[in-house]
Symmetry: C2
Subunit: 193 residues, 2 copies
């Protein structure tokens, strides 16, 4: 049954899917082929119709994405690592500016340096568009912090630069909050009055 083993192997390549889940998925596709058809079609459209915006690097169905070509968007740039992160911010409905997708984070262990990311392009954009603020919205990890620090110094003087707040997740309990998060929440505490 090489075809089934091959299909399991193909699904195991996806993020978050191990061999066991892949097996369940493949057998579920065998018993409901219409699900498979839907996925086939979706993948085809993804590869055929989705490209990357030449301005911000986000996924797009044209040369320039809907956000970059929207004149009502404010002239500030939220810098994120991956296209996925843009979607997360858009879902909040709070942010009304534009984005810049770096295409990753600085990670010397994996051989990713600043020149591998769209950092030079960010600087050019900031100057060209006269962005009034750059918001660094990168992961709260070693790589994210290093990338933020690098960009902050690289852009220094060209515009206002800010970072996402760090602290306790909304709805979390003190008891279950790790020490690093707690100490950051304490250091960055907000004045109430």
């Amino acid at each position: 049954m090489d075809i089934i083993e091959e299909a399991i192997e193909a699904f195991s390549q996806l993020p978050g899917i191990g061999p066991k889940s892949a097996k369940r998925i493949v057998y579920s596709l065998l018993s409901s082929p219409q699900k498979g058809k839907k996925i086939e079609g979706a993948i085809e459209r993804l590869s055929g119709e989705i490209t990357f915006c030449k301005i911000c690097g986000n996924v797009s169905d044209g040369e320039v994405c809907k956000i970059c070509s929207d004149p009502s968007r404010e002239n500030e740039i939220c810098v994120v690592g991956r296209p996925l992160d843009v979607m997360s911010f858009e879902k909040t409905g709070v942010y009304r500016g534009k984005y810049h997708v770096l295409g990753g984070l600085i990670d010397p262990m994996s051989g990713i340096g600043p020149e591998d990311l769209k950092i030079r392009e960010l600087k050019e954009r900031v100057e060209k568009e006269g962005a009034k603020e750059v918001i660094l919205a990168l992961d709260s990890t070693v790589e994210g912090e290093a990338t933020s620090a690098f960009i902050a110094s690289f852009l220094k003087g060209s515009t206002k630069i800010s970072r996402l707040a760090s602290g306790m997740p909304v709805g979390s309990e003190l008891e279950y909050t790790d020490e690093l998060t707690l100490s950051r929440a304490l250091t960055d505490r907000m004045r109430e009055s």
Copy 2:
């Protein structure tokens, strides 16, 4: 970005994949289209080349599956609920007989009765093939137990009928074993000497 939302929706239909995992999968396919191609091809081959064996009901790449057409297989029938279960037994390498896939379990809550499963076909096979043993290898759940009980009484007198042993999973600790499993392990205890 309807295409992306549609793709996320399509992947969310798969077992064990929620909207968050689906989102990660879709964005990973956007950055590595060759993974998508592999999955597309796998799904195509699954739907085009895999069918169900007319004897045992397992997945097959021909009218009769490799196991049913293997003369070296012993003349006993292991009864399972789904094709997936056949793979699990084959992986053990211990079983050298044949299989019979019921296509589900008796589940009155979902409206699945004995007539919806391949139970009549099982009886016909047992008689036709003169199977020397039927091993009931169904889930250790209410539905599985009910189905086993039904089949055991339905086949009574036609051949030897056995069930998988219940008990403590190998490698498990008493402290973390639930009461039902423990009491079953005690009831079904094996004589050592």
